[in-house]
Symmetry: D2
Subunit: 253 residues, 4 copies
Amino acid sequence: MTNTQVTLVQIDNYGPWTVTPEPRREADLQTLQSRLYADISQFVGNRNGYVFFTRFDNMIAVTNGLDLEDHRLLQESVGNRYPVTLSLGVATGTTPAQALSDATSLIQDAGSAQDENRREILDGRTIDTAYRTAEDLQIAHFDVIDATGEYTDELNAFDSFIEIEQGYASLMRYMRHAHDSLSFFVGGDNIIVVCPDLERADYVDAIEHVQSEVDVALQVGVGRGESAHDAGYAAKHALERCRARGTQVELDW
Amino acid sequence: MTNTQVTLVQIDNYGPWTVTPEPRREADLQTLQSRLYADISQFVGNRNGYVFFTRFDNMIAVTNGLDLEDHRLLQESVGNRYPVTLSLGVATGTTPAQALSDATSLIQDAGSAQDENRREILDGRTIDTAYRTAEDLQIAHFDVIDATGEYTDELNAFDSFIEIEQGYASLMRYMRHAHDSLSFFVGGDNIIVVCPDLERADYVDAIEHVQSEVDVALQVGVGRGESAHDAGYAAKHALERCRARGTQVELDW
Amino acid sequence: MTNTQVTLVQIDNYGPWTVTPEPRREADLQTLQSRLYADISQFVGNRNGYVFFTRFDNMIAVTNGLDLEDHRLLQESVGNRYPVTLSLGVATGTTPAQALSDATSLIQDAGSAQDENRREILDGRTIDTAYRTAEDLQIAHFDVIDATGEYTDELNAFDSFIEIEQGYASLMRYMRHAHDSLSFFVGGDNIIVVCPDLERADYVDAIEHVQSEVDVALQVGVGRGESAHDAGYAAKHALERCRARGTQVELDW
Amino acid sequence: MTNTQVTLVQIDNYGPWTVTPEPRREADLQTLQSRLYADISQFVGNRNGYVFFTRFDNMIAVTNGLDLEDHRLLQESVGNRYPVTLSLGVATGTTPAQALSDATSLIQDAGSAQDENRREILDGRTIDTAYRTAEDLQIAHFDVIDATGEYTDELNAFDSFIEIEQGYASLMRYMRHAHDSLSFFVGGDNIIVVCPDLERADYVDAIEHVQSEVDVALQVGVGRGESAHDAGYAAKHALERCRARGTQVELDW
């Protein structure tokens, strides 16, 4: 049974900050957002978690293996090095969407994202080391079959991008509504989905749904583990087997 | 008449590199991609251009103001500091999509994105300083009306994200097919669109299309200028007027 | 009794890399070196260690609290994101210089810094959690008395710098030869020294030595702890007491 | 005749910021300082200048090729992305030390480095493009003869470092007092010196001085150019000729 620990990372009062006293140069905002995300990716990733850039002012992380002190330290380190601060809500659940929903409420209950008095919230609960198991996480790594041959080397770069976005938008809605799963585009033609306990048939159905809804052909490798890195790395290896064998769904167990 | 200079930035042989000799830690790939993008954003942004992360292994930039020597220097600097290299194709056109299409072809003609012998292509033409005008670029900055009140403070963070993604997917398809424009999600609830010569009615129609197709309410500020920064900054100011006046479309001229 | 765990971080084959096939732009080398150091500072610092930039191609870290798996992960992460790789040697000792000496030998025994076949050495031993104590580290934080009033606001910026460098050079030699301690300039007018078990009189003598040798007036706060962060943070607080009380030596115990 | 344009980059009110409301984690300060320096190195370096980390809160740059608008943009970009701001003073002179002295005065006249009301000073004059020549800069790149064989592979890493620091301290004092030159350690065993019009005999004397004062054997390549990059890159090539020919002084003209 999965037990996903999800952290919502929200920049405090970001919207107003970006236009006060005047709008800031867009290129600088992009640089700030990307480097902040990269730092959080290192911090969380070095503890075997994953964080996804999502909306950049709101980032979603899978943090099995991090405790509240780790979260506090991340918050302190960012506060020392950036012109913005972070609020963090952590929760766990048998489905990723449930955990995220609870994590979101922890921050929402403390105040609006644009309430200038709401700063550096840190709230929630993490999974005790003693209760962690190798089934806590199930992560699926999808990519588009032969994206390079079908899109990158054939269409102009934006039309390739549109195709991949359509595939992502279709998969994200389906996985959220059918399976309470959270899907994230991670670059190239790759989508990582954080799932509850799903089975081969569930992935076959998802791939068929996307093929028929938007005509994008996906393949998927799925892994399980005690941490996002363990499950995700197993998923990457399973995806390599799809490529080697020409199959569309490979589970690592 | 717009004259958009577009550069396609493509990482050479990236797919194979990410899995050779073994798949690499996902958190490290995310960090690498984000920091590479941030560096390109500084380089291009400091010359008044804009670059969008797009697929991270393929990034689209609006580079009016940068010449081929600037592009060569960017390529050299990245080659000195990263474990990957970049290929760059530059082209101009009366529509952004046309310019991007030509830029893409320059790189595709030199070889596949996964051809390990195709490295550091630099090809294309830039606009001579003498031929630049204050109408070269038209940039529209859309955001979701009251995203914080409607979504961020109300829904869980992923459901907020789904709504914004649906708005983006709808707008991106519409603007590409109706107006040969290129749309990019830039974080929060913001979408920047690079356009040819459009008029108020075109923006009103786009907003109505997205409202009826996916029920997301957008507002937009539009600016023109000799560079992406000039046009984009004017667009940001126009968007502030939408907020102040409660209007949905504001042009900066 | 102190028990300092020291890690030598050495970039593999760096000298040749910087000039092959041609010398690389100096500004790019500076950027690479500084960002690599910053990343290591975050990784080590988030585990309560300290790392000093030292020569940039050779960096010295105080890593009480990090085990060999942490070192291996740092090595892997850098290998995934930079065009260079790291070799790491770890050792412990009752004096910092002894620990560093042993750490250096571990790497030297494996091959020259410019041997292109010597890559990613990882060797040594770390202190088991069960054997760590609150006296393992003694860290002294020196700064120049009223550097701003004496130098920064009075002399040109290079002559200020020369004065601070002379103070550093004098202190570093003295503390190495008299006390097997390792001294590092950390910016501004600050020098952090990693010491064995020293007493108040030892610090008074060090300050007098520097005053008479190069006429630079130092003050110092000293702290002890189980980690570099614990000891160093206590030292910072002690230094604040020097400023508040007008004293030259303050111990945190 | 050289005409060096020097910019002093000073972080506003940094000392107080590092301890307010409490001292900040040392590892975070090191990360912030190093990444800020790296960004400035990219900005200045991409315009063919050089910047040296110096004291980190005060950095010295050779900015021939950058105008005041470039300086203003750097200041704005840093202000958008860091929790600190920069003051910049720019001046030119026939000797580097004279230019730096004037640049320092521009900032000192505006207020103390720790005056919380003195923020983002931008003052001084840059060289008009029309007046730049290929003799404006003379840059010397020194390194220690066979540092790897003599030190890195033989001594412990701190004793190697002490030797290199002694060589640097000796050279920096001599070049400042004999020739109004500014010397900067740039990592490894490398020292870059920004000089006025010097001749072969001056470099021979400098090397003999350091050999006899601290018993460190240096070699040097010297270049001239219109920008720091042009002169410095020529110096690197000249230094390669020292290695190839076994000579101690090589001029690129």
